[in-house]
């Protein structure tokens, strides 16, 4: 039996593809398995091809997998689009035999289920098709039937008894259809395992929002945008309970303006958006740098410039995060690497923001934002939460908001505090907020504002290193590809290739450790989901060394096999001295 299974459900948007995938995911997680999902759906609410992928296993999962083990096709389009991704040896395709005719080279196992006909003719409701397929999966792969019923009840209970019963019937219909018509021949099976430790099931966006709450975020302003909106939705429910506020701004300029206003009062404040919104924020990122305000700005990257491909993933906002805005304004740039890191990473972002009194731009992406995973349940009592440096009584005697200090950080007074009264401004100013265009002053204050960034370089958890220690090949990726890289790496290590990965979670200021790592390798591959090799360019500029760019621009994440292939290719080059 194979207990590491990649399921994929494909069909028409609006046919319940996503909810079918979500219920399956929850069921596998509640059966005690690890889960790792991957979503891709059309921007339109109804219509267009929609896909949901779930990998589940009894072991820790690092990626969505390289190929599909079990493909469920709701219609012909899903079949035609996905059949090439299904594992040829031993793979399974389950298709709606009422609407879909299999063609081409089939995977080893093909099971037809007339789900549309069952839904339409026997249950008299076409929308039950996705639940029929869940029944099918339950019987074929051992997805726990009572658990499925419980989840369906939780999801549909509100819609009334009649709808709920109809869906229970659908579940049974699918189950029984397999029982009576399909002899199972494949080897996949989802096992029920005892749960060792307390875990939570979160999407990247949920983990991020919860992390923000844990960090003490009290103010959020945002303007809806895919794939960032669910951060705002969760915070809108939870922040008021914590005495905080969520404001739906009229645009992203207003959103970041509000965040800066809140930050100015000493509240921990955040906004989240995606490329188009982050583009609008550029001028205010400079103001935050100049007025030395702590603020967290999340960019759930999506694909392409302009409107691009809103529901697809990419890592192409790095340049913008590093350089957005005119003049030279300091900012910290971080990238989240997993669902778990979304929780702890955003806490780190708030800590860095208050520690350095700078904006922190946190790069996530559609792939991470919208996938779910099981993570160890965080223990809030173990979290380190930092607060702003407050002025002391002696600071207040002759308060200088931007007093020059060793670290560059000046004690920050906020409205309501006596003795701290000052006017913050984006105009160049001296220590005491007096406007000044003196050359020495501009130089000195710019130096002060940048010096603060050094304070984060020695923090824990700002990078990860994986693989062997005597590596020939190095991989430096960033953001959500960490797991995929790790999985590829361990396969390569198993094949005797000496490869290691350095995965920075802090991108700006750039970690000097990156340079050390590069010098310890014969060749370094920089995999990025962008066209121009944005991080590779930063590395070259900073360390004066060349790296091998490995770019993918498909709106989709890397798969472990793609990275593995690249490692092998570079390995060949080293072996043959090319």
């Amino acid at each position: 039996m194979m207990k590491d299974v990649v399921f994929r459900v494909g069909g028409e948007g609006g046919e319940g593809v996503i909810s079918c995938g979500e219920i399956l995911t929850l069921a596998c997680a509640r059966m005690g398995n690890e889960i790792y999902t991957f979503r891709s759906y059309p921007a339109e609410i109804k219509g267009g091809y929609a896909m949901y992928q779930l990998r589940t296993s009894t072991e820790i999962l690092l990626s969505q997998g390289s190929s599909v083990d079990v493909q469920v096709c709701f219609n012909q389009e899903a079949y035609d689009r996905s059949i090439k991704d299904v594992r040829k040896e031993g793979g399974v395709v389950i298709y709606d035999s009422s609407s879909c005719t299999p063609s081409g080279t089939l995977p080893t196992h093909a099971y037809g289920v007339p789900a549309s006909d069952l839904a339409r003719l026997e249950l008299r409701n076409y929308l039950t098709k996705n639940i029929i397929f869940l029944g099918v999966l339950s019987k074929l792969f051992g997805i726990d039937y009572p658990i499925l019923e419980t989840i369906i009840k939780q999801k549909l209970g509100k819609k009334g008894e009649a709808i709920l019963n109809l869906n229970f019937q659908a579940l049974k219909k699918g189950y029984q259809y397999v029982e009576q018509n399909i002899p199972k021949k494949d080897l996949y099976f989802v096992e029920k395992v005892p749960v060792q430790e307390q875990r939570v099931i979160l999407s990247g966006n949920q983990a991020l929002a919860l992390g923000a709450i844990a960090a003490g975020c009290k103010f959020y302003a945002g303007y809806p945008i895919t794939p960032a909106t669910d951060i705002m939705e969760l915070l809108a429910r939870e922040l008021p309970k914590q005495g905080g506020a969520v404001v739906q701004a009229e645009d992203e300029i207003a959103a970041l303006s509000m965040v800066l206003g809140a930050a100015y009062t000493g509240a921990k404040a955040m906004t989240a958006s995606s490329g188009p919104g982050i583009s609008l924020m550029a001028e205010l990122i400079g103001l935050a740098g100049m007025a030395e305000l702590p603020a967290v700005i999340v960019d759930c990257q999506r694909a392409g410039p302009s409107t691009g491909m809103p529901t697809k993933t990419e890592q192409s906002d790095l340049n913008h995060a590093f350089y957005a805005g005119h003049g030279e304004a300091p900012r910290i740039v971080m990238a989240l690497s997993s669902v778990e890191d979304a929780f702890y990473g955003i806490i780190r972002a708030f800590n860095f923001a208050v520690r350095c009194q700078v904006p922190v731009i946190v790069l996530s992406d559609q792939y991470l934002a919208q996938r779910t995973a099981t993570i160890r349940r965080p223990d809030p009592s173990k979290l380190v939460i930092e607060e702003r440096t407050k002025p002391t009584a002696s600071d207040c005697e002759n308060y200088k908001r931007f007093r020059l200090t060793e670290s560059g950080v000046s004690p920050m007074a906020v409205p309501g505090e006596k003795g701290g009264v000052f006017t913050a401004t984006g105009i160049e100013h001296d220590e005491g907020c007096e406007l000044s265009y003196e050359p020495e002053n501009h130089w000195r204050m710019t130096e002060k504002r940048f010096k603060k960034l050094q304070l984060v370089l020695k923090s824990p958890d700002i990078y990860r290193r994986h693989g062997v220690n005597d590596q020939e090949i190095g991989i430096i990726g960033w953001g959500s590809s960490e797991g995929v890289i790790r999985e590829a790496l361990s396969k390569a290590n198993d094949r005797g290739i000496k490869v290691a990965a350095f995965h920075p979670r802090l991108l700006n200021p750039m970690l000097p450790e990156i340079g050390v790592f590069i010098r310890s390798c014969k060749k370094v591959i920089v995999p990025e989901l962008n066209f121009t090799g944005q991080f590779a360019r930063e590395i070259r500029a900073r360390f004066g060394v060349d790296v091998v760019c490995f770019n993918k621009l498909a709106g989709l994440p890397f798969t472990p096999d793609e990275i593995l292939k690249k490692i092998e290719e570079v390995h060949e080059q080293i072996v043959h001295h090319v």
Binding site: L210, A221, P240, A249, E250, S257, G426
Partner: protein, 290 residues
């Protein structure tokens, strides 16, 4: 709301000195903004507010330099974003007295998109717009309120666009307190600013504040102003709109008023509603994701 008040001399005279800073205004001699600043000092002194509980937020422009001249917390931001910044300040700390200031360019050109939303939210902020019909800081180009045909550097053959009517716009957006003041009438202006600050909700104070350097309108304005009749009922929206559309004279005073729930109150209600079942601790919240 003052925690500790500024002592005032007896006998009705007010002492504005505690609200002054030693920063000397950059404004040109005669600039209308001086008058507005003095009226703000007088309002603060009369209301006996304490400096640490006041935040004056501004955008960019000559007029937006104002916060540095008042002994209070200030935030001089970027061009056009004074309202959303002020919204953030007030929402994050509703105990503060938040005053927004700036020019007509800041308010009605680059920042105009924020006005209807500040109005919808009814943010508890008094916004004092110093309207001089030009972009003073960038040397006098016509702004959104500039008269059509006005000849300036960027409109050598005359301003192409008709002027906006800010008061009519404010009434159309249902801003809950709308008034017009004139920097040349400091006594009345102080009173209007006081009312605007006292108003629970969004107050837009359109203040005619002439630019002596690029567009000196003192004379024509002084000739055309008139005080709003005591008989005007500012809660009558149609009557207010009629006043706003008046062409012959420039009505000065409170034009429109509509008392309704402010954003700060709404935020508070939201918090209370969300806490109806108690305030959850973080562990409980995590449990809901198991």
């Amino acid at each position: 709301m003052a925690s500790e008040t500024i002592p005032q001399p007896p006998g009705g005279a007010i002492n504005i000195a505690p609200f002054k800073t030693d920063v000397h205004p950059v404004w040109c001699p005669g600039c209308g903004d001086f008058g507005v600043l003095t009226c703000i000092y007088r309002m603060l002194a009369t209301k006996q507010l304490s400096p640490e509980n006041i935040v004056i937020v501004s955008g960019i422009g000559c007029s937006s330099r104002l916060p540095a001249y008042v002994n209070a917390y200030g935030f001089h931001t970027v061009h056009g974003r004074v309202l959303p910044v002020a919204t953030g300040v007030k929402t994050a700390n509703p105990n503060l007295e938040v005053i927004a200031v700036g020019g007509d360019g800041d308010a009605y050109s680059i920042g105009a998109g924020h006005i209807p939303h500040a109005a919808r939210r009814n943010i508890d902020v008094c916004y004092i717009v110093m309207d001089n019909e030009v972009y003073g800081l960038t040397k006098g180009q016509g702004s959104a309120t500039a008269p059509v045909e006005m000849v300036k550097g960027t409109t050598p053959f005359g301003q192409l666009d008709d002027p906006l009517n800010p008061i009519a716009m404010a009434i159309a957006y249902d801003i809950s307190f709308v008034a017009r003041g004139y920097s040349g009438k400091p006594k009345e202006l102080t009173e209007l600013i006081t009312q605007g600050v006292d108003h629970k909700g969004f107050a837009l104070l359109e203040v005619i504040s002439p630019c002596t350097t690029f567009h000196d309108t003192y004379k024509p304005v002084s000739q055309r102003i008139r005080f709003v009749d005591a008989s005007h009922d500012p809660t009558d929206r149609l009557a207010a709109m009629k006043l706003a559309l008046e062409k012959e004279t420039i009505p000065i005073g409170v034009i429109y008023k509509n008392q309704r729930t402010s954003f700060s109150e709404r935020i508070k209600t939201t918090q209370e509603r969300s806490q109806a079942k108690g305030t959850p601790d973080f562990n409980k919240l995590l449990e809901s994701f198991q």
